[in-house]
């Protein structure tokens, strides 16, 4: 494979329909970041899901099927190139909402066949995991905290294709908890920004919310009980006074956010220590953030402080690369191709854990671990 590649990436695994063109180069068979992002187009669906307080799979699937070719056109236009100048197409083939993943894979197969380009299927989580290399040229190995509306994992990114899960949520993702707290307080969807705004005016000490799993060793997390604790506190107040005062909403948000920040920071610190034990010789270990939760200033501050205390450099890629996007999918595809891998058959996989060796913690039925 050539030492420089221009890749079209396509992403549709949740509620963003996205396409991007990224140029990547390799030295000695290993991709060398940062990559050159020629375009990064995202068609969001927040307005379609807002009334429901969360992503509705059928609504998402409908939107993706009719927007994929349009977002690819947009990405090519913004990059100022035609499909002829693209070396390969990379598409998210899982894990995620199956309706969107399927449409993305089918559109990508059509584009690849029509344009005569190779097609590579990319794990959405790997896209997030490799983003610090795309954005900041971080070298392997490094520690990643992926915290979003759908995922929460602490992963040692050892090298391309080798990911060791050091910790994970055993139930909800933190972004999902933010959305649910916003919903129960009538703050709209997505909940993150508004909960953060209200929390800034609130007293985090008024409510004593639990810090789940802090009493257990390891870096696994839980946010479902915390969310329920907020709901109970809300109900107690509402029953007593016939509603909530703005002060109550602010204090509930502040208490909730402080609990999430403390759990994330202390679990990340544990993962940093485990990472350092595994790689004792690293002069400057790195913890990188990915996922929409990186947008929350208070959570970021907690993680930055934990990183400083553990002697880690904390890296947060720009937000448009932290939330779901296709530039990360193009980059991950480029890394595989630059490493000399040959694209194989691509099919949609709703479940596709990044660390195949880790014991499933959530959503593991007979079809296997979700993520």
């Amino acid at each position: 494979m050539a030492s420089e590649l221009t890749i079209l990436g396509i992403e549709s695994s949740c509620d963003e329909t996205a396409a991007a063109v990224v140029r990547a180069r390799a030295e000695g068979g290993v991709a060398r970041g940062p990559g050159q992002i020629l375009s990064n187009a995202v068609f969001g669906q927040e307005d379609l899901h807002a009334a429901f307080g969360g992503v509705v799979p059928e609504i998402a699937a409908r939107a993706h099927a009719e927007r994929l070719d349009l977002v690819v056109r947009r990405a090519l236009e913004e990059a100022g190139i035609g499909l002829g100048a693209v070396d390969a197409v990379a598409v998210t083939s899982g894990p995620g909402l199956i309706g969107g993943v399927l449409s993305g894979v089918m559109a990508a197969k059509g584009i690849a066949l029509g344009a005569g380009k190779p097609l590579i299927g990319v794990n959405h989580l790997e896209g997030h995991a490799l983003t610090p290399r795309l954005s900041d040229g971080v070298d392997y190995p490094y520690l990643l905290l992926l915290a979003s509306g759908g995922h929460c994992q602490l992963i040692a990114v050892e090298r391309l294709g080798s990911y060791l899960r050091l910790g994970s949520t055993i139930d909800d993702a933190p972004g999902e908890a933010f959305d649910k707290v916003a919903k129960m307080l009538g703050l709209g969807f997505p909940g993150g920004p508004e909960v953060e705004r209200r929390a800034a005016e609130g007293d985090a000490a008024r409510f004593e919310f639990p810090r789940p799993l802090m009493d257990r060793p390891g870096a696994d997390m839980s946010f479902s009980g915390l969310k329920t604790a907020v709901l109970r506190a809300r109900d107690r107040l509402a029953e007593g006074q016939g509603g909530l005062y703005r002060r109550d909403v602010a204090d509930l948000c502040a208490g909730f956010q402080a609990a999430v920040a403390e759990v994330l920071a202390s679990k990340a610190a544990r993962a940093m220590r485990a990472f350092r034990d595994r790689y004792p010789g690293l002069a400057q270990p790195v913890i990188a953030l990915a996922g929409g939760v990186a947008a929350n200033t208070s959570l970021r501050a907690g993680l930055d402080a934990a990183a400083r205390a553990e002697g880690f450099a904390a890296i947060a890629p720009p937000l448009r690369l932290c939330t779901d996007n296709a530039a990360m999918i193009a980059w991950a595809g480029a890394e595989h191709l630059l490493a000399g891998e040959h694209p194989g058959a691509v099919s949609a996989r709703p479940r596709w854990p990044l660390d195949a060796g880790a014991a499933p913690l959530i959503g593991s039925g007979k079809k296997g671990a979700k993520a």
Partner: protein
């Protein structure tokens, strides 16, 4: 699936309840092979817009629109109603054709077509009880609505007919699935507590 080269039509069909995603592109390859055509020879893609399984329609339409983008060719949608009407027209002996397809137990979609094949209106959702009243007199009826008397059975359209109808169409808006119903989604059941000092 069918490839209409103008001189001949190569057509394939596999009935399946699932597995469309895995079979679609191998079938495209097979049809092109059989017609000894390269993908670049495709001037236009016609895709069935339904009604039908939502997932199946999305797969076909996403693939067709992606392929059209990759090839730089046109893409048009043809509904199952239009295709079934075109297939049945020679049996109508100069009368209109009414196509009625069951959507749920008591709801159907109906569309009627003039003798020249032009639609007499858009597809309409009607209760099966009201079907009789929306059909032109003497129209040939085809479809799968059991409650309707004297109706010719019809299931899936012939892909060659979709190709023929698609070839005659003026390309416009890109094809989209004919869902004929809103997405299943429940609005939040309980309102959040009132804000007392809003």
């Amino acid at each position: 699936m069918a490839l209409d080269t103008g001189a001949s039509v190569v057509s394939r069909r596999e009935d399946m309840t699932k597995g469309h995603a895995e079979r679609l592109f191998p079938m495209i390859d097979a049809v092109l092979d059989e017609a000894r055509a390269a993908p670049g020879a495709i001037a236009r893609i016609a895709v069935c817009t339904g009604p039908g399984s939502f997932t199946g329609l999305r797969l076909g339409i996403a693939a067709a629109r992606g392929l059209a983008l990759g090839l730089g060719c046109e893409v048009v949608g043809v509904s199952r109603l239009e295709a079934l009407a075109a297939e049945a027209r020679h049996k109508a002996h100069g009368h209109p054709v009414a196509v009625a397809l069951a959507l749920r137990t008591d709801v159907a979609v109906v569309q009627c077509f003039a003798t020249d094949g032009a639609p007499l209106g858009p597809p309409e959702r009607v209760s099966t009880a009201a079907l009789e009243s929306v059909m032109p007199p003497l129209a040939l009826r085809i479809g799968d609505v059991a409650e309707l008397r004297s109706i010719l059975p019809a299931s899936l359209p012939d892909p060659a007919v979709i190709a023929t109808l698609g070839a005659a169409r003026t390309p416009g808006e890109p094809p989209a699935p004919l869902y004929l119903r809103d997405a299943d989604a429940a609005l939040p059941r309980e309102a959040p507590p009132a804000i007392l000092d809003a």
